[in-house]
Symmetry: C4
Subunit: 218 residues, 4 copies
């Protein structure tokens, strides 16, 4: 009699990781060493840091919502799912670094610096989008989803994730054009993803009760 | 058959974010590089950092309690609530930065520096108060509250939040007068808010059992 | 019909805060800027940082166990308990700072620096011990404990906490004598407290079931 | 009537600590102070930091999975288990430091520096492996495991942990040979451990229901 991994504890661990990644963003906002007599000016000069903070907070917040939405459809876990989830979390937890790099490039970088920072940020975003794909398709192909899940839900999520990754890739060349446009597109993509995960629906009305219990229990 | 977002996982994520924001405050207390032979003196010179730490720990601790009190009244969640909650969390998670700025201005800033730091702290506090309003009124207007909730509870919370935001706004001009007065008023406002969230009460004695289950389950 | 605060969410928030405080300790271990060619030597020179890390990890780990043990006896919460719990958490979350100060004083401080660092560490420990007392006696006097709790358990915990605070106070003068002795005594006190919280026992065998449910549910 | 420690809250606290340790890794990736005009180059020069981040994220992620797998077999806890779990967590939470040291040695260290950094990383890994052994054998010898657990499961885990510690020890001499080989072996060992914890199986089909409840409840 073998017990599957509980998705509940994977979700709790992921929640913890994402809650920390989102909160660490503030540590990257730093004043210069000497602010005596011109603190107001120095605080205004940090405007790019505030913008990068707001962008990444929104992005990670919505990534959390997507992670939650994704795992609502998964009933069981195995070592492979665990591994791909760690890969996904590694991508999201990395975001405070490109956020800090972006803020710095916006503040006092050259045009080339800004492009480099935007490419890094975009690259990490694409890595995260791939991470979602890996978790999703692994769970789908290994039969770890909720039993009796409506195939339309599965198609909907597959399509949503595929569009998402294409949009992220399409946004990358903007790095050579404009920082403001890149950041606006990323914020827009985050908001787009806010609606991206379909709710569980079942082929039979109400769905088989046995299959929904493991996903509901946290 | 659609499932709503569970408020339980939103609360757990918010708890995580607030627990981290409150704990990061200590990282902003930093000694100068060279303390050899005069560490006791250097530790005493950090008194403003300790005061700012105590103030912000109290403020975030009570913000957590209010967040908890607010979500006790909310039964369901949707993407909009998720979004406004992320906005609210972004405000609270930002507080370690104005806390560090305030400590620095108190330690070795000019009068103008202190005013700038106090305005920043007050502005972020008002932003957070607005965040609470957004979450609350969104949930209220979208019918996400507990079914059968006593309208007096709703009025009480609306009034409490409105008074709170007015008091925060009224405290801002103190930034031009006195740092100690501003900080004392903020601490006082935090304590005022400790009593600010009414407990759930229902129009029928005991309330409809079905409506209370989703909020009670964590 | 009013609902009490659930102790479950207070415990979860406290767990989060303590988990973060204990993990932040590692951030205070820092190499000098230039280690090229003599990294092995520089790593050995950090021995006081490793000792301070081990001490504080043990101390906070056992403080967590005590917090857990304490809240096992508490059935209900109100705003006052919330407030005193925030005060207690503020003390524990502060510990990474005196830990870093202690490591620095051990590494390259004078005898006076070491005494100052030890007094700070001891003072914060006493503050934490007082915080436990405040939470405990507040809960006891306001009738927030489990119903039907054996009075012997209450006396046992009151005595344990009182002895603890006396031992912490008694250890403070060691700061003027020896850093190693102070640290050994603090580690010993932490281990002493590992056994410090009595398990819930009830006056009637098994205790009233209704009273035990709120404490058991997390 | 005494209540045992609940393993649920120990697991939740451990989850929190590991989630934070894994997320702090990103804070150790730092750009030089001046990057203006050559940010792309400076970002590429951080390649060793990215590699160390990826390695440690994988290592801690799988350590979390092992911690989870281990505690699935444990039904009860006492103060001793609590203590050894704190020792284990202290080892894992320390990993951001050797990760940063390793990245620095790879970036601009001499051959001796690299060996020192690899020995530190390997030493901490062995410490963690010993921590797992302490928790496991303590729980086993004190009768804290699930009742009716199949002895084959116990032998399997004991053998897995013993092989693991031997492999970690055997990998240490690689520090004198090659950094890349050491890191590849550690990543391989992490993946090996991904399969290392057997699922609970019971001597009677299905196992005694009473014994499985405490482990299942989080």
């Amino acid at each position: 009699v073998e017990q599957d991994w509980e998705t509940g504890r994977i979700e709790a661990f992921s929640d913890g990781v994402l809650a920390i990644a989102i909160t660490l963003l503030v540590l990257e906002i730093r004043l210069p060493d000497d602010t005596r007599g011109h603190l107001a000016h120095d605080l205004r000069a940090l405007a790019p840091s505030y913008a990068a903070y707001a962008l990444s907070f929104l992005v990670i917040g919505i990534m959390w919502a997507n992670h939650h939405g994704l795992f609502r459809l998964i009933a069981r876990a195995d070592e492979g799912l665990l591994f791909f989830n760690v890969v996904l979390l590694a991508g999201i937890s990395f975001l405070p670094f490109p956020t800090a790099v972006l803020a710095r490039a916006l503040k006092d970088g050259t045009a080339d610096d800004r492009t480099a920072a935007l490419l890094l940020y975009g690259g990490v975003s694409v890595f995260v989008a791939i991470g979602y794909q890996l978790v999703w398709h692994y769970a789908r192909l290994r039969g770890l989803l909720l039993d009796g899940l409506d195939p339309a839900v599965i198609r909907e999520l597959t399509r949503g994730f595929s569009i998402g990754i294409l949009l992220y890739l399409a946004a990358i060349p903007l790095a050579f054009v404009s920082a403001a446009a890149s950041m606006a597109v990323w914020a827009g993509l985050a908001l787009f993803f806010l609606r991206g995960t379909p709710k569980p629906r079942f082929t039979e009305p109400g769905g088989p009760p046995s299959s929904r219990t493991p996903a509901g229990g946290v």
